[in-house]
Symmetry: C2
Subunit: 168 residues, 2 copies
């Protein structure tokens, strides 16, 4: 037995996105408890030229949805990217999970060698599906979830690695 | 064709660890240029009860080395964890890459269902190899590399996503 492109992508995304929902729910509750305007957390950044929390979440869900779509040879869904509250960000994640759940293993399995062409700034980049998933989509996906976590920890939210990794 | 446990682990770790070396080299050069004591960056944290950069790097390399070892049914190597400078941290990463290069695909392929038992605080946790790699080792590995990146960005180091993802 080996592992499949589907196993290494869709269920991994869904698990982590559910963990991310849990983290954002804790952040929303914490803002209420500490009487912090949630917008302060949602607009918070680790450095002035880094993206704020809202955009970190959007890039994470787009990495997952776009990753699955491109491996399946489809166009990724577009979004208005206008979420400004924790409930809206959580709803965006839930929609992404619902979208990911529409993929059947057969749409993604066998995509290891499928050419995936990406727009990267003014250029295009073509990668095989395996490189695309392992060296681009997954590191990018984890980057933006971890940075969301880091922004919230930096603002004093009491969460731990268990919230990020989820239950076993 | 499907993908193998080796493909999804060892080469992924090595690629990201080389990217991490590049980031730490830039941090060392930047500290010198800005006349910052490198120890300030190495001891920097995103929040008082989070780990400093040095420990983020150590956990990242241990996740990779321990992940590969446990999938192969071996004990992970131990270390003194006494690095206090950028050159020492980079050397620790290089040693880890050399260790990872000793693994042959045959030692890790087929480990999808191999039981992996971990010590988690006062308890033990047994996972199959697939869950261990996809839902524990990889998210943990990326978490600590991204947090290293976040600590350095937070301290004004001019690096970008390309440094983290590497070249394609």
């Amino acid at each position: 037995m080996t592992i499949s492109m589907y196993q290494a992508s869709v269920p991994v995304f869904i698990r982590m996105l559910n963990n991310l929902i849990g983290i954002l729910e804790k952040a929303a509750a914490d803002a209420e408890a500490r009487k912090i305007d949630p917008a302060v957390l949602i607009n918070s950044r680790l450095y002035p030229d880094m993206f704020p929390l809202s955009r970190q979440v959007r890039i994470a869900v787009d990495a997952a949805a776009g990753g699955a779509a491109r491996l399946a040879g489809m166009e990724p869904p577009t979004n208005e990217n206008n979420e400004t509250t924790f409930p809206e960000l959580i709803e965006r994640i839930r929609k992404t999970i619902a979208y990911l759940n529409t993929f059947k293993p057969g749409q993604i399995d066998g995509s290891e060698k499928r050419a995936v062409t990406l727009k990267v700034r003014d250029d295009t980049l073509t990668l095989d599906g395996l490189t695309f998933l392992l060296n681009r989509v997954l590191p990018n996906f984890y980057f933006h979830i971890t940075t969301t976590y880091g922004i919230l920890r930096h603002n004093g939210l009491e969460i731990g690695k268990k919230d990020y990794l989820g239950k076993f």
